[in-house]
């Protein structure tokens, strides 16, 4: 059984936020005005979080690129009154934008805060409009949106593999963040397929997951930075 997942090596992450930018352009995430950003309305499916420890000047900083955890036991799905958020057979947690009523219950239920809301409808400059990704639907005002592991790329890769009459290969399906990462800190693949790198990396002694004690069973693994 395929279970798509991600391993992020924090030892390699240098906080460049290329993943964030790639995600925004891949998934048609509109930027908001500075005023709206100040009011906490920025949407960022992939976000590089900075974790600071210690008091200045003895501080240590750790970057945490944070996509949706695509939990095997997602708290967001149970609370949705209209089944607009779901988990696919292959473990990807998705959102049906056309059904979402915008109650934001899932956003409150998610301990990782990865569900974003469209406070206003998205707006683009004319020059940007022609660069929108035709494979990703543009969300309307008033609905929740979230990281999808770029599952439109999976659909495309499947079709291509079928057309060429071959199996889907690991490199055929990579989300934008993993593809763009200059230090290859983000590794993506099938956690249940022994030939995929993620299957091996998730057994690394440095591995941990965020808030594992909540029982959400995230499919995004982190490798601790080496001392």
């Amino acid at each position: 059984m395929t279970r798509w997942g991600m391993v992020i090596d924090l030892d390699r992450c240098m906080g460049c936020a290329a993943c964030e930018v790639a995600c925004k352009s891949e998934n048609n995430i509109a930027t908001v005005s500075p005023d709206q950003a100040d009011r906490g309305r920025t949407n960022s499916w992939m976000k590089v979080m900075a974790h600071v420890e210690g008091e200045f000047p003895h501080t240590e900083m750790q970057f945490y690129p944070r996509p949706c955890m695509h939990c095997d036991n997602p708290p967001c799905i149970k609370v949705c009154p209209v089944a607009a958020t779901y988990i696919s057979d292959e473990g990807i947690v998705g959102q049906i934008y056309a059904r979402c009523i915008g109650c934001r219950y899932c956003a409150n239920a998610c301990p990782y805060m990865v569900k974003y809301f469209n406070w206003y409808g998205p707006e683009w400059a004319d020059s940007e409009l022609q660069h929108l990704n035709p494979d990703v639907s543009v969300r309307s005002v008033g609905v929740i949106e979230k990281c999808t592991f770029c599952h439109h790329r999976l659909q495309k890769a499947r079709e291509e593999a079928r057309a060429e009459g071959r199996e889907l290969r690991e490199e055929d399906y990579q989300p934008a963040c993993a593809e763009v990462c200059p230090t290859a800190a983000i590794v993506f693949g099938d956690l249940d397929d022994a030939t995929h790198r993620v299957a091996e990396l998730k057994e690394d002694p440095r591995v941990h997951r965020l808030m594992e004690d909540l029982g959400t069973q995230p499919k995004v693994y982190y490798l601790r930075a080496r001392e």
């Binding site: 709206q36 100040d38 009011r39 906490g40 309305r41 920025t42 979080m49 708290p75 149970k78 609370v79 949705c80 009154p81 209209v82 089944a83 607009a84 059904r99 979402c100 009523i101 915008g102 109650c103 934001r104 219950y105 956003a107 409150n108 239920a109 301990p111 990782y112 805060m113 974003y116 809301f117 469209n118 406070w119 206003y120 409808g121 309307s140 005002v141 008033g142 609905v143 929740i144 965020l210 808030m211 909540l214």
Partner: protein, 454 residues
């Protein structure tokens, strides 16, 4: 008032004459207040139009403060709605004779306020046009669906519970001919107060007053569960179901007391809402202020003693942090003020209960604020947050409109139905002997027969 109506009114027996007068006689103050409330309500409708037109961005909500004024008002108004039905049902079931004058005004609050509460989550929706998805794609694991079910059932049963005991009074109005005969002919549904009809009526009321109690309890339990079912600090708590039910009844009693003081003054009902009613309801308020303290103390002590870092951030934000003012105002309103006023006979007067009632209503609104907002801005995952939630004028306008809309429909309703149940008062007068026998029958070695035997 027209002369023929006045003549008809003067011919009625004393109870009818006093209690039906508001239906045909309206003061200038009433019109002025109605106009003001209508203006505020319309302003709220305009604010909602802007919100629908441009999006929820017009509110002060943000990430992580996904919920605000609307959800607070949802919990608050559904809480107020527990006033009527629960109080009147419990008093009926326990055969408390002093209930007779207050059941109607209480039941009316329930039915009228519940709609204003139930629309709050719809106002809060990003896509209110898709509200039917809740039925079309119902996902029964969601506590919101439990709410839809529970509140729907509650509204349905409370409406019947209001209407059935109204029938004899509607028949009285129809027979008196003082107001809109065609309307009351339909509303009274052929009720003639024959002994058979009366017996059936009392049986239905008897059954309903038992049935509505578990339904009412379920409603606010489920509302508490909306929060409790998430893993969020200070929400994920087993006490929330009963805590919310207790708080709902508490705010409900306070709302009844406020309504009674105003009605007594406006419609000269001093003979019906007597000092004894305020005294007894005041004692009930006192009991609930102590219960409130018990529940709140248990909830906060458990969180504090566990000391889990996520919980503690929300905890200290309330006790000493940015939410200290709403928190301690809540403690004053829900505990200190009602306790001080209601524990003395001298202040369990209409004036004293009015002050305590207002304090409790404000305190209970703040309690819901202190549940929703501090947890929202302090999520378990410490994200880059603006760390505050300030409601916009749109939200405040809609909240004001909800308050004034409710008061408006309540005022208008008092022009169509007697605010004190006429037939129950009359029945009470006739039953004095029977009640005395019943009470005597409670005593050992009683030899009284008849109704006292049960």
């Amino acid at each position: 008032m027209r002369d023929d109506v006045r003549a008809k009114l003067e011919r009625l027996p004393p109870d009818e004459r006093v209690l039906l007068r508001p239906l045909v006689e309206t003061s200038r103050t009433f019109y002025v207040v109605t106009a003001l409330l209508a203006a505020v309500s319309l302003w709220g409708v305009f604010a909602y139009y802007l919100q629908v037109r441009y999006g929820l961005g017009r509110t002060g909500l943000n990430r992580p403060s996904y919920w605000g004024i609307y959800i607070i008002c949802f919990v608050f108004f559904i809480g107020i709605s527990h006033a009527g039905t629960l109080i009147s049902a419990i008093l009926r079931v326990s055969k408390a004779e002093w209930r007779r004058a207050i059941t109607r005004s209480a039941e009316l609050i329930t039915v009228l306020v519940i709609g204003f509460g139930a629309i709050q989550p719809i106002i809060d929706m990003g896509r209110p046009d898709r509200v039917m998805n809740v039925l079309l794609h119902a996902q029964l694991l969601s506590p919101l669906l439990w709410d839809v079910t529970s509140i729907g059932l509650y509204f349905f049963s409370c409406t019947i519970y209001l209407y059935v005991p109204l029938l004899p009074d509607l028949a009285i109005i129809r027979d008196s001919g003082i107001k809109a005969p065609w309307l009351y002919r339909i509303l009274a549904a052929g009720y003639r107060d024959t002994p058979v009809q009366r017996a059936r009526l009392e049986r239905v009321i008897g059954v309903l007053s038992i049935v509505v109690i578990p339904i009412a309890v379920s409603v606010h339990t489920v509302i508490g569960w909306i929060f409790a079912m998430t893993l969020r600090p200070m929400w994920h708590s087993t006490i929330f179901g009963p805590y919310f039910v207790m708080g709902a009844i508490y705010s409900g009693i306070a709302a009844i007391l406020i309504a009674m003081v105003v009605l007594r003054r406006a419609y000269r009902l001093e003979q019906y809402f007597k000092p004894v009613h305020f005294d007894y309801l005041g004692r009930l308020l006192l009991v609930f202020s102590l219960l409130w303290f018990y529940f709140t103390f248990a909830e906060y002590l458990t969180a504090f003693y566990g000391g889990e870092p996520g919980e503690m951030r929300a905890f200290w934000a309330k006790l000493t942090g940015p939410f200290a003012i709403p928190f301690w105002t809540m403690v004053a309103g829900c505990f200190v003020i009602p306790l001080a006023l209601m524990s003395r006979q001298a202040t369990r007067t209409p004036r004293g209960t009015l002050i305590a009632g207002i304090a409790v209503v404000i305190g209970m609104w703040l309690e819901r604020y202190n549940i929703v907002v501090p947890t929202s801005v302090n999520p378990r995952w410490e994200i880059e947050s603006i760390g505050q939630y300030l409601p916009s004028w749109i939200e405040l306008s809609i909240m004001s409109a909800t308050f004034s809309g409710f008061i408006l429909v309540y005022m208008v309703a008092t022009k169509f139905v007697p605010i004190v149940s006429i037939w129950e008062i009359k029945e009470g007068r006739e039953d004095v002997k029977e009640v005395a026998d019943r009470v005597a029958g409670y005593l050992p070695n009683a030899t009284v027969s008849g109704a006292g035997a049960d």
